[in-house]
C-alpha cells in the first residue's frame, strides 16, 4: 500500500543535466519542487566525456545561462581547462569548450540545488506515475511513497531499461553501473507511449601514472581567461592540459581480428547508435583506408588520476580493450581503470511531445533530456530548462514558453525533435541551424536575457548590467559613425599593417570597421582607444562587419515567423480535409503541429498540403468571425 508522502507543484524525476536545470528553473519561478534522484552522490554526473561545450553545444550552455540556468556558472567554477574553438573562423561558429572536473562539478551543482529554497531533494526510485483522467497527478516510488503534484518532469537519461554491453557480457544497468529503472519504462509503455531503443558508448579510462606523455602531443588551454556565464567574474588560471596521440596499423589489426567479439558486431545490440559518436570498431570498418585515428587523453579531474581516452569508444571484450590501448603510443604500459562499454536504453519518441516538452498523451507530464533521444549534457540541460520553465508557467496558468529557430539553438533542438523526430541519438551541430549567423556564442545574452528576466530567472542587478551593455553598444556605434578618419600617415600605416588598402579619402570609422581585415583594435590605432568594455567592442565589430549578412538572415526570419504566427487550432480534424495527400494527413495527425510554419517542416508534408491547410485554417477563422 502506498502512503501519502507529500504535495508539490512540480516533481522532477532524475538529477542529471536536464533534471538539475528543470528543477532550478521551476523552483526559481516559484514552484515548490521535488527532485528525486536514484543516487544523491551522482547529481549532474558526467558518465561519458569530461567536457562541456564546443561548436553549437557551447552556445547552448551560454543560452542556458542567459535564461538564468546553472550549467555555465558551475563549469566556470570547476573546469580544468578552457579553450575558444574556431577562432580562425567567423563569429557565428566560435564556441567555448571546457574540460570538466567531474567530481567537483557534481559537488558544485549539488551545492546550488541544496541552497535553492524551493527545491526538496530526495533519493528514490520512481516506479509509477499517478494518472487521473489522462492527467498526471504525481508519482509513486519503489518504497510506496506517493507524491502528488501539478506537473511531473521525467529526466531519466539512459537509465530506463539500461543494459551495459562489454564483448559478449551484458547486464542490466544504468550508466557507470548505477541502478537501472525498469518499472517506469514499463509504466510509460502501459500508458501508450511509443519507446525506441537507442545505444551509445564510452571509452575506457586509464591511470595517468601509467601514461608516457612524452610520446604524445600537449593540448593546453587558452591563456586568456574566459567563461561561459555572463555572471562569472573570477576566472580559473591554473589549467591542466590534455594530450593527443593516435591509433596505428597495429591497433586496427587488433580490432579487425576481434570484430566478431564486439557487442555491436556480434548482433546482440539492437539499439540505434549515433553516427557522430561511432565506436572505434565502427571507425575502422567504415573508414578502413584511414591509417590512423586521433586519440585525446583527457583528465577526469584535478584530484583523480583517471584519464578519459577520447576516440576509443568500444564494446569489445575487456582483454581486447587492454590490447588496443597498449598498441597506442604513450599507452604501452597503460593500466585500464574502467573498461569502455556500450549502453542500450529506452527513449521516448520525441514526436509525442509538444514544443513545451509536455507529452501529448498525458497532460501535466513532461520529458526532457536524453530520454527524448538526444545525446550530450548540453542538449539535455537545454531541454531541462525549457521543461522546468513550462511546468512552472503551467502551474501559474500562464502562456507556454517556446523558443523559435531564430532565437536559439535550444529552439532548433526542440523543434527538430518534436517536428521531425530522430532515428539516432540527436546531437546539435551548427549546420542544423538555418540562422547560424544570428545564433552566435557572443550574443546569447542579447538574444535571451530579456526573456529570462521576464520569466523571473534573471536578477535585477544582472538585468541592469545587461541594459547598460545594450546602451553602450548603441552609443559606441554612434560614436564610430560620427568619427571621420582622415587620410594621415598613422592611419595608412595601421591599414597597411592590417593588410588592408590605404585610404583615398576620409572615411567614417564605422565604415572602415566593415572591412573584413579591420578589427576594432586597428580602428583604435587610428582614432585612439575607446573607453568600452571588450564585449561591447566585440558586439560593435561583429554587428558592423556582418551587417549585410545579418540583415539577410533577419529577412529570412521574418518570412519564417509569418508562417509561425499562423496557428493551427488544437481541435483541427485532419480527416475533414479531403484534399490533403494521405501521407501528409497521417504525419499531421501524428505530429499535430501548432503552426503552419511547424507543419511545413514535417517531412512528407508538401507545399501543396501546406496551401490546403492554410486555406482550411483561414476558412475556420472566417467562419468564427
Amino acid at each position: 500500500m502506498t502512503y501519502h508522502a507529500g504535495d508539490y507543484d512540480v516533481i522532477v524525476i532524475g538529477a542529471g543535466h536536464a533534471g538539475c536545470e528543470a528543477a532550478l528553473a521551476a523552483a526559481k519561478m516559484g514552484s515548490n519542487t521535488l527532485m528525486l534522484s536514484l543516487n544523491l552522490d551522482m547529481i549532474a554526473f558526467m558518465p561519458c566525456n569530461p567536457s562541456l561545450g564546443g561548436p553549437a553545444k557551447g552556445i547552448v550552455v551560454r543560452e542556458i545561462d542567459a535564461l538564468g540556468g546553472a550549467m555555465g556558472k558551475v563549469i566556470d567554477k570547476t573546469h580544468i581547462q578552457m579553450r575558444m574553438l574556431n577562432t580562425g573562423k567567423g563569429p557565428a561558429v566560435q564556441a567555448l569548450r571546457a574540460q570538466a572536473d567531474k567530481p567537483l562539478y557534481i559537488q558544485e551543482m549539488k551545492n546550488i540545488l541544496e541552497n535553492e529554497p524551493n527545491i526538496t531533494m530526495k533519493q528514490a526510485m520512481v516506479n509509477e506515475l499517478i494518472i487521473e483522467d489522462g492527467v498526471c497527478k504525481g508519482i509513486i516510488t519503489e518504497t510506496n511513497a506517493a507524491y502528488y503534484s501539478e506537473k511531473v518532469i521525467i529526466t531519466t537519461g539512459t537509465f530506463m531499461r539500461g543494459k551495459i554491453l562489454v564483448g559478449d557480457y551484458e547486464y542490466e544497468s544504468g550508466p557507470n553501473n548505477q541502478r537501472v529503472s525498469v518499472k517506469l519504462s514499463e509504466n510509460l509503455e502501459e500508458l501508450g507511449f511509443d519507446l525506441t531503443r537507442f545505444k551509445t558508448g564510452t571509452p575506457p579510462r586509464v591511470n595517468s601514472h601509467t601514461i608516457d606523455y612524452s610520446k604524445t602531443e600537449i593540448q593546453p588551454g587558452d591563456e586568456k581567461p574566459q567563461g561561459f556565464s555572463y555572471e562569472t567574474t573570477e576566472f580559473i588560471t591554473d589549467q591542466i592540459p590534455c594530450w593527443l596521440t593516435h591509433t596505428n596499423e597495429r591497433t586496427h589489426e587488433v580490432i579487425n581480428d576481434n570484430l566478431t567479439l564486439s557487442a555491436m558486431y556480434s548482433g546482440m545490440k539492437r539499439g540505434t547508435g549515433p553516427r557522430y559518436c561511432p565506436s572505434i570498431e565502427d571507425k575502422i570498418v567504415r573508414f578502413h583506408d584511414k591509417p590512423r585515428h586521433q586519440v585525446f587523453l583527457e583528465p577526469e579531474g584535478r584530484n583523480t588520476k583517471e584519464v578519459y581516452v577520447q576516440g576509443l569508444s568500444t564494446s569489445l571484450p575487456e582483454y581486447i580493450q587492454t590490447e588496443i590501448l597498449r598498441s597506442v603510443p604513450g599507452l604501452e604500459e597503460a593500466e585500464m581503470m574502467r573498461p569502455g562499454y556500450a549502453i542500450e536504453y529506452d527513449s521516448v519518441k520525441a514526436t509525442q511531445l509538444w514544443p513545451t516538452l509536455e507529452t501529448k498523451k498525458v497532460a501535466g507530464l513532461y520529458t526532457a533530456g536524453q530520454i527524448n533521444g538526444t545525446s550530450g549534457y548540453e542538449e539535455a540541460a537545454g531541454q531541462g530548462i525549457i521543461a522546468g520553465i513550462n511546468a512552472a508557467l503551467a502551474v501559474q496558468g500562464k502562456e507556454p514558453f517556446i523558443l523559435d529557430r531564430s532565437q536559439s539553438y535550444i529552439g532548433v533542438l526542440i523543434d527538430d525533435l518534436v517536428t521531425k523526430g530522430t532515428r539516432e541519438p540527436y546531437r546539435l551541430l551548427t549546420s542544423r541551424a538555418e540562422y547560424r549567423l544570428l545564433l552566435r556564442h557572443d550574443n546569447a545574452d542579447l538574444r535571451l536575457t530579456e526573456l529570462g528576466y521576464e520569466l523571473g530567472l534573471i536578477s535585477e542587478a544582472r538585468y541592469n548590467n545587461f541594459q547598460e551593455k545594450l546602451r553602450l553598444i548603441d552609443e559606441g556605434k554612434e560614436v564610430l559613425h560620427k568619427q571621420i578618419v582622415k587620410v594621415a600617415d598613422h592611419v595608412q600605416d595601421a591599414l597597411v599593417r592590417a593588410k588592408s588598402t590605404p585610404l583615398k579619402d576620409a572615411s567614417r570609422a564605422l565604415d572602415l570597421l566593415k572591412r573584413p581585415e579591420i578589427t576594432f583594435d586597428v580602428i583604435e590605432e587610428m582614432i585612439g582607444e575607446q573607453d568600452y568594455p571588450a564585449e561591447v567592442k566585440e558586439q560593435i565589430e561583429i554587428q558592423t562587419k556582418y551587417e549585410g549578412y545579418i540583415k539577410k538572415s533577419l529577412e529570412q526570419v521574418d518570412r519564417m515567423l509569418k508562417m509561425e504566427d499562423k496557428k493551427i487550432p488544437d481541435n483541427i480534424n485532419y480527416d475533414d480535409i479531403h484534399s490533403l495527400a494521405d501521407e501528409a494527413r497521417e504525419k499531421l495527425k501524428e505530429i499535430r503541429p501548432m503552426s503552419i510554419g511547424q507543419a511545413s517542416r514535417i517531412s512528407g508534408v508538401n507545399p501543396a498540403d501546406i496551401s490546403i491547410l492554410l486555406v482550411y485554417v483561414e476558412q475556420g477563422k472566417l467562419a468564427r468571425s
Binding site: G90, S313, K420, L429, R436, I577, H578
Partner: protein, 458 residues
C-alpha cells in the same frame, strides 16, 4: 493578410491572339511601372487600361507593345492590387515579359495561388473553400506531371551532380566547424572553395545557355535578315515563307500588321524578327542606321546577312561584319545572276568561319544551300545540343538564375576574404535553389553527407 507579389501567365500558352501576364500583390503596380514605357502606372486611376511598351529595365530593350490594365485593391479578383499585361499572342512575347517581371521583384505564382489568395482575402464565398483546395491539389498534380515531363533525366542528373559537388564542399566546411580539432580533415581554404564554386558556376552558366536553346526549340531561332536596300531581303523572306506556307503565323494586332513570322526550315523553327522593318522601310541600314541594326542584332540568335553580287562592298557592310563578330550568322551573296562587282575573297576573309552561300532568289537558285547551311548550324553544338538536355521551364530558368546569383555573392565574399562559414551562407542557398528544381531541399542530407564523408566521433 500580407503577401509578396506573384505573377504568372494567365492565358493558355500558344493559343489566342492575346496573352496576359498577371501580377497580384502589394508591389504589383510598382513592379509593372519599372518595366512599362508609357503613363506612370502608380498615378493612373484604378480599373483603367493603358497603351505602352514593356522593356527590360537595365538594357532598355523593348520586349513588346502592350496594353496594361491596373486594378487596385480591394475590388479585384484577389482583393489585392492586380496588374494585367496584355501582349501579343504566341509564346515569345508573353514568356519574355513574365521573365522580366520575375527579374524585377515578383515571384512565380504557385499552382492555384491566385485563387488561393482570392479565398484568403475573403473574396470567394466560404462554400467554395473545398473547391479551392481541390483546385490547388489538381493544379499541383498537373504541374508535377508537366514538371516531371520537362525535367528529363539528364537535366536532373546534372543538377544532382552539381548539388553533390556543393554539398561535399559544404560538408567539408561544416566538419571544420563542428569538429575543429580533427586533424585528419584538411582545413578548407579560400582557394579550394573558389575552385569548387567556379566549377559549379560554369556549369550553371552552361545550363542557362542550354536553357536559351530550350527556348529556341520552343519559340524558334530568332532570325534577323539584314543588308542594304534592294539586296533581296523581302525576296528571301518570301521564299523562306513560301517554302513552308503552312507554318506562317500572321498575328494581326492593333498596332502592327505583322509582328512575327515563323517558318520551319527542315524542321528548324525560325522566328523572323523585324519583318515589319523589312517590309515597310525598304532600306534598313541607310534609314535607321547602324544603331538600329545594333539593337536588332542584340535580339537575334541568328543573322542572315545579305550582300549584292552586283555591287562592290561598302564601308557600311564592313562595319556590319564588325558588329556580327560574336554572333551566329550566314552570309548570303544574292543576285549571282548579275555581273560580279563584289570582292568574294574579301568577304571570305571578313566572314571567317561563317557559312557563305550564293543565291539568285529571282531564279530560285541557292535556297537548298541556305537550308543546308541552316541545318548544319542548328545541329552543331553552337545553337542546340544534340543530347537534348533542355531547360525550358520558366521556373527552372528562374531558379538557375537565382543559384547563379547566390554563387556570385559567395564568390564576392571569398574575394573579400570573408570567413568560410559566412561564404557558406550563399553556397548553401545555391544548393537549396538547385534542389528546388529537382524538388529536393531536405537539409537532413547535409547531416548524412557529413557523417558518410568524414570519420568523426569521440
Amino acid at each position: 493578410m500580407e503577401f509578396d507579389t506573384i505573377a504568372a501567365i494567365s492565358t493558355p500558352i500558344g493559343e489566342g491572339a492575346i496573352s496576359i501576364v498577371r501580377l497580384s500583390g502589394p508591389e504589383a503596380v510598382s513592379i509593372a511601372d519599372t518595366l512599362f514605357i508609357g503613363k506612370s502606372l502608380p498615378e493612373v486611376e484604378s480599373h483603367t487600361i493603358h497603351y505602352g511598351k514593356v522593356m527590360e529595365p537595365t538594357s532598355e530593350i523593348v520586349a513588346d507593345e502592350v496594353m496594361v490594365s491596373v486594378m487596385r485593391a480591394p475590388k479585384t479578383f484577389t482583393c489585392e492590387d492586380i496588374v494585367e499585361i496584355n501582349c501579343h499572342g504566341g509564346v515569345t512575347a508573353v514568356s519574355r515579359i513574365l521573365e522580366i517581371v520575375l527579374e524585377n521583384g515578383a515571384r512565380l505564382a504557385d499552382p492555384g495561388e491566385f485563387t488561393k489568395r482570392a479565398f484568403l482575402n475573403g473574396r470567394i464565398d466560404l462554400s467554395q473553400a473545398e473547391a479551392v483546395m481541390d483546385v490547388i491539389q489538381s493544379k499541383t498534380d498537373q504541374a508535377m506531371n508537366v514538371a516531371l515531363h520537362q525535367l528529363d533525366g539528364k537535366l536532373s542528373k546534372l543538377i544532382t551532380e552539381l548539388r553533390q559537388a556543393l554539398i561535399e564542399t559544404i560538408a567539408h566546411v561544416e566538419v571544420n566547424i563542428d569538429y575543429p580539432e580533427y586533424d585528419d580533415v584538411e582545413e578548407m581554404s579560400h582557394d579550394m572553395m573558389e575552385e569548387k564554386t567556379a566549377f559549379v558556376h560554369d556549369e550553371i552558366d552552361r545550363l542557362l545557355q542550354v536553357a536559351k536553346q530550350g527556348k529556341i526549340l520552343r519559340e524558334g531561332i530568332k532570325t534577323a535578315i539584314i543588308g542594304r536596300p534592294n539586296v533581296g531581303k523581302s525576296s528571301l523572306m518570301n521564299s523562306l515563307v513560301q517554302e513552308e506556307r503552312a507554318i506562317v503565323t500572321d498575328v494581326p494586332g492593333t498596332t502592327r500588321d505583322v509582328i512575327e513570322e515563323y517558318v520551319n526550315v527542315r524542321g528548324i523553327p525560325l522566328q523572323l524578327i523585324d519583318t515589319a522593318g523589312i517590309r515597310e522601310t525598304k532600306d534598313i541600314v541607310e534609314k535607321i542606321g547602324v544603331e538600329r541594326s545594333h539593337q536588332i542584332l542584340a535580339e537575334a540568335d541568328l543573322v542572315l546577312f545579305m550582300l549584292n553580287h552586283n555591287e562592290p562592298l561598302t564601308d557600311d557592310d564592313r562595319q556590319i561584319f564588325a558588329l556580327l563578330e560574336d554572333l551566329n550568322y550566314i552570309v548570303i551573296i544574292n543576285k549571282i545572276d548579275l555581273e560580279q562587282q563584289i570582292d568574294i575573297e574579301e568577304i571570305k576573309s571578313l566572314a571567317k568561319d561563317n557559312a557563305l552561300i550564293t543565291t539568285s532568289l529571282i531564279e530560285e537558285k541557292g535556297i537548298d544551300d541556305l537550308e543546308a547551311a541552316l541545318a548544319h548550324l542548328f545541329f552543331s553544338k553552337d545553337i542546340a545540343t544534340e543530347d537534348g538536355t533542355y531547360v525550358s521551364n520558366v521556373r527552372h530558368i528562374q531558379l538557375l538564375k537565382q543559384s547563379k546569383e547566390a554563387l556570385e555573392e559567395a564568390t564576392n565574399a571569398l574575394a573579400l576574404n570573408m570567413p568560410l562559414d559566412i561564404v557558406q551562407i550563399d553556397i548553401r542557398r545555391t544548393w537549396e535553389y538547385l534542389g528546388e528544381i529537382i524538388g529536393d531541399t531536405a537539409s537532413e542530407s547535409l547531416i548524412d553527407q557529413l557523417f558518410s564523408q568524414f570519420c568523426l566521433g569521440k
